[in-house]
């Protein structure tokens, strides 16, 4: 937890700054990291990298990675960290929900990645992640965190790899010596699909924590079938009066939200769904709004290239050849999907650099122009 994070002393950080500045003058025009990383990728000063120290594939449908980061990660249990992974030579960034390895002072984290057949990154990690691989860790985000002070009674409901932020919160609570009653209902397909069995058992062993396992397609466990009101009535009849934290696939979280709305307890519910809703992209879609984030201008998508639309909106983005060869107009697409007008290829990874002269928006798009 945050309270346990070691903060570097000011003198140490000043010495470090001076050292980096001196290295910078010697390595100019390249960042010193571009030299340091060749000795060890984890030596970089401007970015946090981590090495995979353990890969656990014992649960069905997910892989659990233990990482050792080059510097402490400052996150609150339940928050997400972005992780960049190289797949087929291309760097992809996704967010995952980490739990701190107890006693690692923020440098050791565990995260679980669910297998999705159409997910490039999850599939890669599921099939190929190996001890020794290096990943880059980025920004911390998310407001799926416990309130301060922590309520006396808590209910957690998770589905699949939605277990990860809950385990992070549970271990945070244990580390803080929390003694209030906690009920944790976890949904998995079968007993073999339950990820992080060891962490779950450790949580269940705590005197104030009750773990309830629900299996949607298998025997064993305490509850069976998909999430329904009867489940909570059976194990947590007081749910409507209890702060509840639910995390899982979008459909799963939606069902929980519907229930809390029905009983008028939506204020008690905090949710996080880790799978973005699947949007079927029609490349011919010329609807939506184009937002030029750098200049704060928004226009209706006319179907033209982003450069044409920016110019039509009175902006003057930097550009050159207008045919996709010179890369002068490269800009960061913050969100949304664009289509390469030459190849017809569509792409929607947030934060990707695109050439605005050969890319047209498909639906809502935000670019940093």
């Amino acid at each position: 937890m945050i309270a346990h994070m070691p903060h570097p002393t000011p003198s140490r950080s000043i010495a470090r700054k001076i050292l980096v500045k001196a290295l910078d003058l010697m390595s100019t025009p390249h960042h010193p990291d571009r030299y340091l990383e060749l000795a060890d990728p984890l030596l970089t000063t401007a970015t946090t990298r981590a090495r995979i120290t353990n890969v656990d594939r014992t649960s069905l449908g997910s892989v659990t990675l233990t990482l050792r980061a080059s510097r402490p990660l400052r996150f609150r249990p339940g928050q997400c960290v972005s992780m960049s992974v190289v797949v087929d030579g291309v760097r992809h960034t996704r967010t995952f929900s980490p739990a701190e390895v107890p006693g690692s002072r923020g440098r050791g984290v565990v995260l679980t990645v669910g297998f999705r057949p159409d997910g490039r990154v999850s599939r890669h990690l599921f099939e190929h992640a190996a001890v020794g691989d290096v990943v880059e860790l980025g920004g911390i985000s998310g407001d799926f965190v416990l309130p301060e002070p922590v309520p006396g009674r808590l209910l957690f409901v998770s589905g699949g790899t939605g277990i990860t932020p809950v385990l992070a919160m549970l271990s945070g609570l244990a580390a803080a010596g929390h003694t209030g009653a906690v009920t944790f209902v976890h949904y998995a397909r079968t007993a073999e699909h339950v990820a992080r069995r060891g962490d779950l058992d450790a949580a269940a062993a705590l005197p104030n924590v009750e773990v309830v396992l629900a299996h949607t397609r298998g025997g064993g466990g305490h509850l069976h079938g998909r999430f329904e009101r009867a489940h909570l009535d059976a194990v947590a009849p007081w749910f409507a009066d209890t702060p509840t934290f639910a995390c899982g696939p979008t459909g799963f979280v939606d069902r929980i939200r519907d229930l809390y709305e029905d009983v008028g307890a939506i204020d008690m519910l905090h949710t996080e769904s880790f799978e973005p809703p699947v949007v079927t992209i029609d490349p011919a879609d010329v609807s939506g709004t184009v937002h030029f984030a750098g200049s704060g201008v928004s226009v209706d998508n006319s179907g033209g290239t982003l450069l044409d639309q920016a110019e039509a909106a009175g902006l003057t983005p930097e550009h050159g050849c207008r045919m996709g060869i010179c890369h002068t107009c490269t800009a960061i697409r913050a969100s949304g999907c664009t289509r390469d007008v030459r190849t017809g290829e569509v792409d929607s990874e947030p934060g990707t650099r695109i050439r605005i002269c050969v890319n047209a928006p498909v639906g809502d798009v935000a670019v940093e122009i």
Partner: protein
């Protein structure tokens, strides 16, 4: 046209070359042009689709080797009191700078590795180990030169505004100094590249305001200051008593890079046989016509794999101009297909060994220093491109009377 050639010059083979028999120009029909466009687009798509882990490993391997040479070079200069160590240090540092500028810097800044989505190799943010600021280079090179390749009056790389390298540029007594200017540019190449975007000729002529140079000069100050500080102050100081040998060594490494980069780059567009174009004949170009211009306006240098790496694969200048943002180490694999396409349509595919291309370039530098009437015409395979508009290209005899050449000399007059 060249009937007034002075006969004594013909006896100087370096200047006059072989007998100037002008071959019949190849005529390229409109269908052929569009066919070339389609085939090259398909070749591009195939290559883009196959980019992956190997290309990533390649560029990182090159970067690792370059950094290795750099660290070794700078390290050896610490013991530069031993002459072999000094020589080895200078050589290693020279190799490092060549790799940094050519196979890494030039290519990364073209966006050849943007598909990897690595912030450290993003074309818009990358910097290289020369005094020229990357953003100015990207403008004059990626945009101006690669879009308007060999269009006299638009592509400022035709003579760089200081040389006469094409018969379409009007002659002026200023150009008698052509070989001197070229030699100076060769020795000070990185500084020449830095100043390129200022367009000195247009400043002199008043076409461009000195005020426009202020933002550029700020960029020069920012970039060059750090480069100069690193090579001529920081590292010499770090070597203590070896201050002067280290400083001289670093200067020598920069010089090696300058001469090499100049030589490779001049062989890209200036050997004989390379065609230039006018603004009129390239108006409203189709994709196919753009490709054909890149084909005819560039020349390759043949050589070993190591030679191609050391030249940043600019030795595959034709392929580079067709596909400037494909990873350059792929050009070798693409080249046979491009060459076959040229053969299919009877187009020249200009390639030759380094010596041949360099001799050809320097011959041009000397030849075009002289008034057109003094030297014989160089036999070139001209290609006439059939267009929808009644404009044709390649006729080197008639073109230079049609348009302004936009060089230092014409503007001084």
């Amino acid at each position: 046209m060249f009937g007034l050639s002075l006969s004594f010059l013909r006896s100087v083979p370096f200047l006059s070359g072989s007998a100037p028999a002008k071959p019949e120009p190849v005529v390229l029909g409109r269908d052929a042009v569009e066919d070339i466009g389609r085939e090259l687009d398909a070749l591009r798509d195939r290559t883009v689709a196959s980019l992956g882990a190997e290309d990533r490993e390649y560029i990182y391997r090159i970067i690792k080797v370059q950094r290795g040479f750099e660290v070794a070079g700078r390290g050896l200069l610490f013991v530069g009191f031993l002459p072999p160590a000094w020589v080895a240090g200078v050589a290693a540092l020279g190799v490092s700078k060549i790799l940094d500028n050519m196979e890494i810097g030039h290519n990364v800044m073209h966006g050849q590795y943007d598909w990897m989505r690595e912030p450290a190799l993003a074309s818009r943010e990358f910097e290289w180990d020369t005094v020229c600021p990357a953003d100015q280079w990207r403008h004059s090179h990626n945009y101006m030169h690669h879009t308007y390749t060999n269009i006299v009056g638009m592509d400022r790389d035709v003579g760089y505004g200081i040389l006469r390298i094409d018969p379409a540029q009007n002659w002026h007594p200023y150009y008698l100094g052509n070989p001197v200017y070229a030699t100076a540019l060769m020795l000070l190449f990185e500084w020449g590249v830095m100043l390129h975007d200022a367009e000195a000729d247009r400043l002199v002529s008043g076409e461009r305001s000195w005020r426009d140079v202020i933002p550029l000069a700020r960029g020069w100050w920012r970039k060059a200051r750090r480069q100069v500080l690193k090579d001529y102050v920081v590292f010499p100081l770090l070597t203590g008593p070896m201050f002067v040998p280290t400083l001289v060594g670093n200067a020598a490494a920069n010089l090696i890079r300058n001469v090499w980069a100049f030589s490779i780059i001049f062989c890209g567009h200036f050997p004989s046989g390379v065609q230039s174009f006018s603004v009129d004949e390239t108006e409203d170009e189709t994709r196919g016509e753009w490709y054909v211009r890149q084909l005819l306006g560039s020349a390759d240098i043949s050589g070993s794999r190591l030679f191609h790496i050391m030249s940043g694969n600019l030795s595959h200048q034709i392929e580079h101009h067709l596909f400037p943002d494909l990873p350059a180490h792929r050009y070798a694999q693409i080249a046979p297909e491009v060459q076959a396409l040229c053969e299919k349509h009877g187009l020249p595919y200009n390639t030759g060994g380094l010596t041949r291309q360099i001799v050809s370039v320097w011959r041009k530098i000397f030849r075009y220093a002289l008034p057109p009437s003094w030297v014989s015409a160089e036999p070139e395979v001209a290609v006439l491109i059939e267009r929808a508009q009644p404009t044709v290209g390649g006729d080197t005899d008639s073109r230079h009377t049609e348009r302004p050449a936009g060089t230092l000399a014409t503007d001084i007059v």
